[in-house]
Structure formats: structure tokens, C-alpha cells
Assembly symmetry: C2
Homo-oligomer: 394 residues x 2
């Protein structure tokens, strides 16, 4: 049976006593206590600064996780695909930002959601997109709402806060009959940092550029109600959010080894891991083979450029305790090769055929996306408490 078939069968049978150790592998585990701790950490931080937190659902892609973030009912979220927007709309979410630049087909599809009563705001950074969106709104009989994307650190799209193009795009937005929701920026370059001072500075730059863009629009006579910034590192290191109205972040829910390398979390905060089984050993090479390759872990090598390269993941025992320096050194599609980190003085642990390990991921968004469901566990029990499906596609 596939994972989803097993899930359906378990539900039918009222099965509740599957333990972590008895799970077929590879499998995605989600530690609920760590998830709640991570959610509370950032939501408390934002509440203390009187700023709206708009969680990015691109990492979790799960209504069950969204309900952990919003236990008393749907709140504002960010999405990375319109399939996510449609999925969360079906589950009652109404206030969403689609934070990927607009194309003609996504404009039409977004307007269908808006027509259905979802306050879906979209993103653009050109006059062409404003015209496309205006036309899509008129065709659907709705008034579109859009953010103008601002580039705060040169990593992707967006306009600069100072240029005349920002004002020209805002004018095109108004001309096209589109409501200007505000400006939106993302400090993507912060993922490459490590020093606390540099992270604080990246957060301040993100804030300052966003506020400057909003002020430039207001000076030119445009309303700019929302000033939206965000990335997991800057959200956790921002000391001042004056002028910012909302913060977006996604990977903070789960954290991962890249975020650990940036210095935002400890390995004990990482809420997801991949359960794997030993399927071979190669004593002459000090290798242990497991049944988690790139299909289960993803090809993400985000720690390769960091101070500590974690290979394709850091290995823990079945209870989640890290084996110091034991990493997934190589992967093929369904094989992972565990080996000690180069230069380690630790001994390779004895892990016979059939032994189970947990692997902490480099990049939670990429690793989770390789799986159809979360096996929900907690630090305090070895039972699978629930199985939460993930959505995928576009």
C-alpha cells in the first residue's frame, strides 16, 4: 500500500497505535511540540511589535499546520502557488497574498478566486502586469488588489524604492482600475548570512527600503496601506519594525539546517525529519547505506556554502538525538550514504541492517515537498499521533 492508502486504511480501522519505529520508510516526521514552539516564538515576537504576521504556507502546504498557526480560525496567509490559494480557500481562508509575480493566466485564475469571495492580493512590478490584471479584473467583474514588489537586496525581482519606475507602475495600477494594496519586499539575501550584526543589518535594510518605497508612493499621492516585509532570518533578527505593517515568513514553522547555519535556530528546534532504515553497510569505506536518497531528502545542498556543510542532512537516532558529525554524504534516487563528516574524531556508530535513523533536512520546504503526508510525532511519545496530508502542484 502507498502512504496515502495506508493512511486511509488506518483511519478506517481506527488504528492509532503505529509507533515511529514501526513506520515504513522513508517517511516524513513532524514534531508537533517543536512546531508549536516555533509558531509561538515568531507570533509572540510580532505581537510584541504590533505587526501582523502573515505566515507563508509554501513550506507546510497543509491545512492541519495552518490550523496550528490559527487555532481559533483562519487568518492572513501568504501562498506561493494558486493551487495553494485554492486549497486554503476550500478550507475557509479568505485573506491571502500570492507572492509570485503575475502572468496572464494567473491573473485570470486569481480573479476567479476573488470573484468567489477570497480577498486574494497579487504581486507585480511592471506596467504590463498592471494592464493585464486590470483587464482580468474587468473580465471577471471584480476589482483586483495588488502589491508592487520592491527589490531590497538585488536577489530577484522588484523595483527599487527610489526610481521613477515605482511611481510609473503605481500610476499604471491606478489607471488599470487596480487597488494598490501596498508594497511587498523579501530579504532573500539574508539566507546567505551568519553573523548576528549582519542579520540585524539585513533586517533594517529590508525595513528601510520598504518604508522608503511606501513613502515615495504616498508623496506621489498614492495610498500605500500595507508595508509587507519578510524572510525567516530577518523576521527573527529585526530590532525595529517602524513603518512596517506586516511580516511574512514560512520556514520558521519547521526550521532546517540552513536556518541553523544562519543562526536562527538550534538543531533541537528543527521540527521535521526523514525516518530512514539501514539497508547495507560498507565497512571498508566506513559507509552505512539507508533507504532515503534524494527522492526522500531532496537535492537541496543549501548548507554547502555555509561554514558547516551538512551534506544532504544530519543524522539522528530514532528518538531524534543527533549523532555528532554523522551526515548523509552522498545520495542517489533511493539510496543515502551515511558517513562521518571529513575530519571528524567521532567513531561511526554501529547501525545494523534494519536500524532506523532520523535525518534533519537542509531545506524544510524542499524536503517536505518530496512527501505526501506528515507523520505527526512528539518528543514525549513514540506514537504517530496523526497523519496530515500535504497539497502539491500548481
Amino acid at each position: 500500500m502507498s502512504q496515502l492508502e495506508m493512511r486511509a486504511a488506518d483511519i478506517q480501522n481506527g488504528e492509532t497505535t503505529v509507533t515511529v519505529g514501526a513506520l515504513a520508510t522513508p517517511a516524513l516526521l513532524l514534531d508537533k511540540e517543536r512546531l508549536h514552539r516555533n509558531l509561538n516564538r515568531l507570533s509572540s515576537r510580532m505581537a510584541a511589535r504590533d505587526v501582523v504576521l502573515r505566515p507563508h504556507m509554501k513550506t507546510a502546504k497543509s491545512i492541519d499546520v495552518a490550523q496550528c498557526a490559527y487555532p481559533s480560525g483562519p487568518g492572513p496567509i501568504t501562498v506561493s502557488t494558486l493551487a495553494e490559494a485554492e486549497y486554503f480557500a476550500r478550507h475557509g481562508f479568505r485573506d491571502m497574498t500570492y507572492a509570485v509575480g503575475l502572468a496572464p493566466h494567473t491573473a485570470e485564475r486569481a480573479m476567479r478566486l476573488r470573484k468567489a469571495g477570497v480577498d486574494l492580493k497579487v504581486l507585480l512590478d511592471s506596467r504590463e502586469q498592471a494592464i493585464i490584471l486590470g483587464a482580468a479584473g474587468r473580465a471577471a467583474g471584480v476589482a483586483p488588489s495588488a502589491f508592487i514588489e520592491i527589490d531590497c537586496d538585488g536577489h530577484r525581482g522588484g523595483l527599487t524604492a527610489e526610481g521613477s519606475e515605482l511611481i510609473a507602475v503605481a500610476a499604471a495600477v491606478a489607471e488599470a482600475g487596480v487597488d494598490l494594496a501596498g508594497i511587498l519586499t523579501h530579504a532573500g539575501e539574508s539566507y546567505g548570512l551568519r553573523a548576528r550584526a549582519a542579520l540585524v543589518s539585513a533586517a533594517e535594510n529590508e525595513r528601510a527600503v520598504a518604508v522608503a518605497a511606501a513613502e515615495a508612493l504616498r508623496t506621489a499621492g498614492h495610498e500605500c496601506p500595507v508595508v509587507s516585509v519578510g524572510s525567516t532570518p530577518t523576521a527573527h533578527f529585526a530590532e525595529d519594525l517602524a513603518g512596517v505593517t506586516e511580516v511574512r515568513a514560512g520556514v520558521y514553522m519547521f526550521f532546517d539546517l540552513v536556518m541553523h547555519g544562519v543562526g536562527v535556530c538550534t538543531t533541537d528546534d528543527i521540527a521535521i525529519s526523514i525516518l530512514a532504515t539501514v539497508i547495507g553497510t560498507k565497512p571498508e569505506k566506513s559507509w552505512i547505506l539507508v533507504d532515503a536518497g534524494w527522492m526522500a531528502l531532496s537535492r537541496d545542498r543549501g548548507t554547502a556554502a555555509q561554514r558547516v556543510d551538512q551534506g544532504y542532512g544530519l543524522v539522528c537516532d530514532l528518538s531524534g538525538k543527533v549523532y555528532p558529525d554523522l551526515i548523509v554524504a552522498q545520495v542517489s534516487q533511493e539510496h543515502g550514504i551515511l558517513a562521518m563528516r571529513s575530519g571528524s574524531t567521532q567513531a561511526l556508530p554501529h547501525l545494523p541492517i534494519g536500524a532506523k535513523v532520523r535525518i534533519l533536512p537542509n531545506h524544510a520546504c524542499a524536503t517536505a515537498s518530496q512527501h505526501d503526508l506528515y507523520n505527526v510525532v512528539s518528543d514525549s511519545s513514540d506514537a504517530i499521533e496523526a497523519r496530515w496530508p500535504r497539497m502539491r502542484g500548481w
Copy 2:
């Protein structure tokens, strides 16, 4: 609507006239003519050498593709997960090799399939696995059949052909009541080659090691009916297959930029691509932004170590014609940044918002796995001829 919902809706509506240009993006395209050409190329090559071709379904994961390989009914296949084995068994396939090392839970699950009449052979390289498999067979009331994995190039698991351990494992297999199907090896290191002579030599090494292992077993009194080798590069470069009874390969059906870099195919042979839409431009950086990031392309950077680094993919126009030197230089989750290859003398093409491109993948297995279905196209028409679902999971 999600891709799968659209597919269901299209089928209900009898919709047959969706064109490539009208498809929502990102989307996975499969060129049926190229697929058939690739399938015929290797099956003719193997037939001429009187060797069984056992296609590896880990790349395609699709019954429709398997039926292109076997138009007159199911034949022998290789699978990388037991979910694949169960999926193909539901579609009538009976002769399968699960080419990943055995663990206790997969032994039990494999024996359930065997009990259901599927001739599923498994893989092991240790005495422990032989004992586990024998016990699983007895518990299920079936006689298991296993290959012993041979290591021909040091890239992963398996035993050497000369060592005493091979004979000891064969003895343990017999002792456990397991039928010895034969030996199996995979020249994984061939993916790192480029020169024709080196590829021919890797193929000959794979053959020679496999045959030596089979002969060592036969000398020790074991039958070794099947001598199974394979990788896409060695399958295409082997000059002599004396003593080999079957060849396994998977990525040859689609090919990809890594195989192009190895020298096994041209870019015109690559049968899958990702359709993407331009969502922004950054003229000051000579960047074009598209809506295909690592979620649509995968994080695979297999060409990074090759002579020509293709970034995250090589860009073609809507009809599939390569834009020389235009690659996906950077990706984030749902964004790709197109740029000219460093040092190129070509001009960046003019691609406005809404323009569509096709992106050839580094690694077909990884890129296809990011999608739930193939949009089947052909060189001679711009219509989507069919939508073929893919299976996933373990």
C-alpha cells in the same frame, strides 16, 4: 483548479484541443515522438545483442510510458520502490526486480506481492538480509527470489566479485531457503564520464565484474541464471555483452542534460521539458524571471561538474528550439532567473511578460518527480494529445 482536477474536468468535458501555449504553467511536457525514438534505440541495440532489456521505471513512474515500452503487453521491469511494484502489479506487470537493498519491512511487503502472484525479485548483499528474507518468505508462505548485488565501481553498495563474502552470502541465501536469481550490478560511476573510450571501458568493466561474480558463484556450486548489468551510459556504449543476460536502464527513455553532457544523446533527444511563463524582467541585470523554480525543475545540479554547466536547465522557445546559451541561472521555490551563460556572445532574447519557454532538465528522474502528470506533445503539433498521470511515494 489543480493540474489533476483540470485533467479530470477535461476528461469529463471531452476536451481534446488544449494547446501547449494555452497550458497553465509550470507544466511537465513529454514529447511522444522522442520517447518512442529513445525506446526503440535501446531496445533495438539490446535485441541485436540478444540481451533482455529490463527498463527501470524509476524515471517515468507511469503506466502509459511503460505501455509505450511494451505495446503488446507487460514485460520485465525494474522498480526503485515497492509502491512502484504495487502500482505496476495493479496494471498487469508480473516480472519485476526491486533494485534497492532489502530491509525487514520491505522484505515483508515484497513477499505479500509475491504471494499475490507477482514474480518480484529483491536485492541483497549481506547474510543478515538473506536471513531476514528467508523468514519473511516462510511467514508469507512463499519462496523468495533474490539477486546478490555486486559492486563494480565502488560507487554505492554491493560485494566484490573476488571476495569470499560473495560465496558466503550465496550460501546464506541457499540456507535461508531463498532462490538465487543471479547477480546484479550498476555502473553508477559512468555518469561522471565523457570520453567515448572511457564509457566503452566502464561498460566493459561492468560486464567483466558481473561475469566474474557469476562465474565465482557457479564455481562454488551455485546456479546464477541471471547476470544483470546496467546504466544508461554503459547500456549505450557497451561493445560486448558476452555472459550478460539482461541490461537495466531508466533515464534513456527521456534523456536529459546530464546524459547530453556524458555524450549519450543530443538536446533534440531530450523528451521532457518544463513549460514556464515569463513573470518579470530585470534589464539592468540581463535577467528574465519565469514561474519555474526548484519546485518545478528540482534542485538537481548534475551538470555543475560537467564540461558545460547548464545551471538549472537549458531554455528553448515554445516549439522546443534551444536558445543558445540561455540557461536557468538561479532558482528559488517558484522563481527561475534566466540569464546568458557566462562568457556567451549571444544576445539575451526579448521575452516579454506572458511569453512561454520550455526548459530542458538536468536530470529527468528528479525533474519529472516534481510533477503529477505528463502533458503529452509531439514535434509535429502544438496540441496536448494526452495527460498521463505519474505515481509517487514509497
